[in-house]
Symmetry: C2
Subunit: 342 residues, 2 copies
């Protein structure tokens, strides 16, 4: 556990050159340095197992090569993929990420932003609860001196140089369209709470898809509840018991879809044999549980990846003092995953 590590100073002494020369060589800024000294220095550095001290460098360059990732909770299955996407892009560009779990708690978020600022991160990727007032968001990101990219959020705040969103309306529209193309006409929709924009967009996409085909939808086909397996079961039971004829069910998320499929198995005789089921594959990998399920896969990994890309681009531009201040917006599509019944 030796703390002692070689410095460029020691290398310089050993190589009998100045520390400036060593620094330049080690940073590949050796335009005008002779091959001989160059090799000599490099050899010594390797021998002594030189490890640059990032702190010292950062003190001068004002860049740490670290970006902060602020999310509600990595334990929520929605986030690991995002985190992975961010990390992958970051490490491609030789950035590290510091991860912060806020539990959707404003105070914690503020505190983390503060810490990240002290730690001199070069930028921040942040997602926060969809149920949050705009003023709060502003307060949170206020006073933070680094570029920010939002994931799954669409506020306009100074410092926010980018946003990555998914088009839920379109995804929902296409999912329903897929069912329609398959010949289904009576498509029920089971969703969780409608108090997030995501949920409302999905519902609108469903309605729009039907309207486009001139199919009027019936309010009785729409069941609003919770994003839980149990609600998938209950809502499906309701549909059956209410004697509403349906030949397909579209589920607002994968938990609901899992529940719905469970329930349908019990009603094999009461519903069409080839009933169409579709769900959003948000979090629980419904497909692992119900391999026959067709889903709209949310591009979580991609969201993280593009967010990091946007951020790093912004960081670099800024360090070049380019002052092009339009915030970029990337809207990603969900992907229809059709599986064969097993």
């Amino acid at each position: 556990m030796l703390k002692k590590s070689v410095t460029i100073k020691e290398i310089a002494k050993e190589a009998q050159v100045s520390i400036a020369t060593v620094s330049m060589i080690l940073n590949n800024k050796d335009k005008n340095i002779s091959e001989s000294t160059r090799n000599k220095v490099l050899k010594i550095a390797k021998e002594k197992n030189y490890i640059p001290n990032t702190m010292a460098r950062s003190l001068i360059t004002k860049q740490t090569g670290i970006i902060g990732l602020v999310i509600p909770d990595i334990t929520n299955p929605f986030f690991p993929e995002i985190a992975r996407g961010v990390e992958d892009k970051a490490s491609e560009e030789r950035y590290s990420i510091i991860i912060c779990n806020t539990d959707d708690n404003l105070q914690k978020e503020d505190q983390y932003i503060q810490i990240l600022t002290e730690k001199m991160v070069d930028g921040i990727v942040i997602t926060h609860s969809a149920d949050r007032y705009q003023e709060d968001s502003i307060r949170i990101l206020d006073g933070c001196r680094v570029p920010i990219v939002l994931i799954d959020r669409d506020y306009s705040i100074p410092n926010v140089i980018g946003k990555v969103l998914v088009d839920n309306f379109k995804a929902s529209y296409e999912a329903v369209n897929y069912l329609l193309n398959k010949g289904y006409r009576k498509i029920a929709y089971i969703t969780g709470s409608l108090n997030t924009k995501t949920a409302r967009d999905r519902l609108e996409g469903y309605k729009e898809a039907l309207l486009t085909r001139g199919i009027s939808y019936d309010e009785r086909y729409i069941k609003v509840g919770e994003y839980k397996i149990q609600w998938g079961i209950d809502a499906t039971k309701k549909l059956v018991s209410e004697d509403v004829f349906f030949d397909a069910i579209f589920c607002g998320n994968d938990l609901i879809a899992i529940g719905s499929m469970k329930a349908l198995k019990k009603f094999r005789l009461k519903v069409p044999q080839d009933i169409g089921i579709m769900g959003f594959d948000d979090i629980y990998m419904a497909s692992v549980i119900e391999p026959a399920l067709t889903t709209m896969k949310q591009p979580n990994y991609e969201m993280g990846y593009y967010a990091a890309e946007l951020l790093i681009e912004g960081i670099k531009k800024e360090s070049l003092s380019i002052n092009e201040k339009n915030t970029k917006k990337i809207i990603l599509d969900s992907k229809l995953i059709v599986r064969e019944s097993s």
Copy 2:
């Protein structure tokens, strides 16, 4: 996006004291500083929204307040809880964590360790693939100058100041014992590959529990395959078709348990009504899918939490140059979760 932030120098000038005074006050090392100057400095610091520059401090103190977390893949449902545990403890102690996904790739691991060392992390918490030779592990952690805590691994390597493990043997033993206490006597065991110590320990626990009760087990009761839902289904079918009488099944992980329960539903008439099913709740939260399932919940969160605790303890001791070099080992128990049928 102002990069300019106030320094203690400016505060010192404004308060008409020396920078040393300001530094001491801001670090609560103001044993002998008058209340008046103290308040004056604090007031100015607040007014100017002073943010300490961690880089500059770290350069001197050789402490960054950052811990590296090296894991195979945050996307693997085994790790988010661990990561959360590490982060929670870390943030309690005002440490941040940098997360690295190695994909069980030695080269990547080496590279990350290198980067973390450059970034001057104060310590590292690492988990790596169970299928790995000891020599490799040594090579990886070699040359790394900071304290290390291993999660779910038990190698003895310099720098490793702690290990956090779960007692799989005991967990398995207790799970089977639970079934025995319930009156089950013919307990089958479906496991994945036996080439990890975890899997072997679990199998041994199963055998030991039976032996303790003087129950001889039959090799036909043990099905070795993969940790997948499909294997749970197939193995269960096998058991039924082979006409081996069993009144309970113990599953090596939750995917297998999910598969097994699926299969059993199809054989309702061929197996005892009150068949006992038990599984390890490692990764997929089997309980969400099959709420009636009794499981041994792996203490992932706790592993992370204790690992961070051990590491931080070690970091502090080291900074105090205490040279007590025994590596601590924490062995955690899984927790039996009995659920009511829904």
